[in-house]
């Protein structure tokens, strides 16, 4: 292994590869910041460029774009509540409220440190345990994914505080309904498509996120234009605050980061999950770990609530290289594009990749460390400048957000219908927001609910309609018991408090 590391270091530290890491990280950060544009599109467009490079150089560049985008995606989540990529939606849950409290600099710094730590810790796991971890990625079957999605849904309780329980639940139902639009994967029957072919592929996740977050946020601000506190708020926002963390905040991050890295990495290793699921799960789990006082802050600018998903999505991003490199299984659209590129270079992924192309395996892992350091160096000093976005007068900022939302969604599908649908959803979401309906439960239910249904029905199909899959395998039992414990504990506590 030492030998491998040395080979990797040698390859990764060549001038050309160092430049590729830098270019990749920089391009990725920018792409990640722009709402709508994700790493998948960027990497797909890069394949023709990388052709003619050495395989390791090409892969290093693509990997740089990938984790750079996950790193940069948090910026727009925090500053304007417009998640740059799906994996950073959960970041906005606490990052945006924090920025609204005049702590934008701090929020961006927490996100940068968490991303760095998550990515680096996960790269260490990748280094020491990638081959054995390939077993983990195959250990999960449909019933276990079903359990994981339910576990993720328990995070909804984070938004149901202070009498909003019913509203949060209503948003969950709305999210589940939106998730069921489109051709049903298991029986090819169109559902809620109203015989409109634009709906037959379902509603895209990015579209829902952009409509309910970015667009409706901008519209809500317009509606609240006469708010007397607005001017005062504007002034406080332009002073973005210190980016230095105090002792208390550092302490919180030190406890959050290790557990979120492990969780994020494991979820990233699973081909059926990915960084979005990882960030949601980490957010929900973190809320179960913290004390009651911190729990109240979730959704209102909690340090733990921001650090957890930011750590997890970067860890998951590194984790997704395990099935890609050791098994040749792409877990996401992004890794599928990368797999195509690998095959194009004539490289056969698999357990033998160690022996056949050691320089590729090790140099990619080594370039991850370099990339993480570069991203941190790149991002930290820029925070004060980036955060100045908030100081932009609202009369400029709002049209810009609307502009980027519309062009972003159009660039994804090149379909005008998506623009109309996004505006429609955004208008409904704005009305709901004005009546204090929370949006995060809708997003959670939309992502997790769709996957939950699919995996449940697939489990039933495999077990010939019997529910025994719920207790047939130890892994499923463990996940199910965890769910019962968490839900039971919440119920018990709420009764206990009332008495």
């Amino acid at each position: 292994m030492i030998e491998g590391i040395l080979i990797g270091l040698e390859t990764a530290f060549s001038l050309k590869n160092l430049m590729m890491v830098m270019i990749g990280c920089f391009a990725g950060t920018i792409i990640g910041m722009l709402p709508g544009l994700g790493p998948m599109t960027a990497i797909a467009l890069m394949i023709p460029i990388t052709y003619g490079f050495e395989p390791s150089t090409g892969l290093i560049l693509m990997a740089g774009v990938y984790y750079g985008a996950v790193f940069g995606g948090s910026t727009s989540s925090i500053l304007i509540n417009a998640p740059g990529i799906p994996g950073t939606v959960a970041t906005s849950f606490d990052g945006y409220p924090m920025a609204q409290q005049g702590k934008a600099g701090k929020a961006l710094a927490i996100a940068a440190y968490s991303s760095f730590a998550g990515g680096t810790i996960a790269a260490i796991f990748l280094l020491i345990a990638a081959p054995s971890l390939s077993k983990v990625s195959l250990a999960f079957r449909s019933p276990d994914y079903f359990g994981l999605m339910i576990l993720g849904l328990t995070a909804v309780s984070a938004f149901s505080a202070k009498g909003h329980f019913l509203k949060a639940m209503m948003m969950v139902v709305l999210g589940l309904m939106l998730a069921s639009v489109g051709q049903d994967t298991l029986s090819d029957i169109p559902r809620f498509t109203f015989q409109n072919m634009n709906l037959s592929d379902g509603i895209s996740f990015v579209l829902v996120v952009m409509a309910t977050f970015a667009m409706s946020e901008a519209l809500t601000i317009i509606f609240k234009a006469n708010d007397p506190t607005r001017v005062a708020k504007q002034i406080s926002l332009s002073q973005l605050g210190s980016i230095k963390l105090d002792k208390n905040e550092t302490k919180k991050m030190v406890t959050t980061i290790p557990r979120s890295s492990v969780l994020g990495f494991i979820i990233g290793v699973l081909p059926g999950a990915g960084s979005t699921i990882a960030s949601f799960l980490a957010y929900g789990m973190e809320r179960n770990f913290v004390n009651d006082e911190e729990k109240q802050k979730f959704g209102k600018g909690s340090v733990n609530g921001l650090a957890a998903p930011e750590t997890a999505n970067n860890a998951a991003c590194s984790g997704s290289f395990v099935p890609l490199l050791t098994l040749g299984i792409p877990g996401s659209g992004t890794t599928a594009v990368m797999l195509g590129a690998l095959l194009g270079f004539g490289i056969q992924p698999g357990p033998r990749l160690y022996q056949t192309n050691p320089e590729i395996f090790w140099s990619v892992i080594m370039s991850m460390y370099i990339g993480m350091v570069i991203l941190l160096i790149l991002n930290l000093p820029l925070i004060p400048y980036i955060a100045r976005v908030l100081a932009t007068p609202r009369s400029f900022l709002i049209p810009l957000i609307l502009f980027f939302s519309v062009t972003g969604i159009y660039l994804m599908s090149f379909n005008n219908f998506d623009i109309y649908m996004m505006i429609g959803i955004a208008v409904v979401a704005t009305v709901l927001r004005l009546y204090d309906f929370p949006m995060p439960p809708l997003i959670l239910a939309f992502v997790l609910g769709g996957l939950m249904e699919e995996n449940l029905r697939r489990s039933l199909l495999i077990s010939d309609g019997s529910w025994s899959f719920l207790w047939d395998r130890p892994l499923t039992i463990v996940i199910m018991l965890t769910i019962f414990f968490i839900v039971g504990w919440q119920i018990y506590k709420s009764f206990f408090k009332k008495n």
Partner: protein, 330 residues
């Protein structure tokens, strides 16, 4: 006077242009590719790769691309049919045939039949590349050949669960069903387990929740070390994977090509059609095409003009029978 002069000049110009057009062998100056899906997908790669090879090899002066996703490619199809754009071709693949079948069998109610378009509404130019179907088992599976699968299936149809990367009635499902049907088993008893992507179906197979996977050969090339490819739906073994047996050599005459090809708008002239078809064939002999092909691990299956139409007709008949058999259509 001046007007007449102008007319004369333009007439001369038009004649010169026309003769110059008919004199050059590949006159297509520019070609616009319409893609029914988003960036990064299979159609997108085919169109952009082909366009790149055509321009680099000097067959075209410029190629432009337009993504038009929606309705599984239906939006791009109706664009071609309704606006009949000039110098424009559409990239399509096997799902177009499936779409034609479901439309003509009354699967879609009358009101929407017009929205579901078929390959007969556009002009088939040529099929350029293709992928064969593959039946795959995990490395540690008890099945070592396609015959083992058929034997186990005939003993107990429920014991063989077949994974695929798309919905029921999709290509992945049909590849497996065709193989079982040709092996003399009732394809309707196959328990098909759909996943929402090829990679996830592969993970399902390797996790042991399904016994076999029905997919495209290209989809499993990345995981060749983890799986046994029990058979492919090719007429003979392919050069890229010479050790992979065909189903045919194992006594199951299941031939299936997931083709990708190009179509013109309705009313495209025979001259234009033949010219583009020839260009698409000639480019495959150039190193520029070979570079693109290798990068994407494509299999050249050039199938122009009438041959292409015949092929589409044959595939339609085959798939109609299969879809009826499976109860997807009546």
């Amino acid at each position: 006077m001046l007007n007449k002069f102008k007319k004369l000049i333009s007439l001369v110009f038009a004649t010169v242009l026309l003769t110059s057009v008919s004199n050059t062998s590949f006159a297509a100056d520019k070609l616009h590719f319409v893609i029914g899906g988003g960036a990064g997908g299979g159609w997108d790669g085919t169109a952009r790769g082909t366009g790149e090879a055509l321009t680099k090899a000097g067959f075209l002066n410029s190629a432009s691309f337009e993504n038009m996703s929606g309705g599984g490619g239906g939006k791009a199809l109706s664009y071609m049919i309704n606006t009949k754009p000039s110098d424009t071709i559409l990239v399509q693949s096997t799902p177009l045939v499936l779409r034609s079948i479901t439309r003509h069998s009354g699967y879609v109610d009358k009101k929407n039949a017009a929205k579901v378009t078929s390959y007969k509404d556009v002009v088939p130019i040529a099929g350029v590349i293709g992928d064969y179907g593959a039946i795959v088992a995990a490395k540690n599976s008890p099945y070592n050949s396609w015959k083992d699968v058929v034997a186990a299936y005939k003993a107990n149809p429920k014991s063989v669960k077949m994974a695929g990367g798309s919905v029921r009635g999709s290509m992945d499902h049909l590849i497996g069903a065709l193989a079982f049907k040709e092996a003399g088993a009732n394809p309707n008893d196959v328990v098909y387990i759909p996943y929402d992507a090829g990679g996830k179906a592969l993970a399902g197979l390797l996790s042991g929740e399904t016994q076999i996977l029905s997919t495209g050969l290209g989809e499993v090339m990345g995981a060749r070390d983890q799986v046994k490819i029990l058979g492919i739906t090719a007429p003979k073994r392919v050069a890229d994977a010479p050790d992979v047996p065909t189903l045919k050599e194992q006594g199951t005459n299941a031939i299936f090509v997931n083709w990708r090809g190009f179509f013109g708008p309705p009313g495209m002239s025979d001259g234009d059609r033949k010219k583009i078809a020839k260009m698409l064939g000639d480019v495959q002999k150039t190193p520029e095409w070979e570079a693109v092909r290798k990068r994407n691990a494509w299999v050249n299956i050039y199938n122009p003009d009438k041959k292409f139409v015949k092929f589409l007709e044959k595939q339609t008949v085959e798939m109609t029978g299969l879809l009826k058999n499976l109860g997807v259509i009546k």
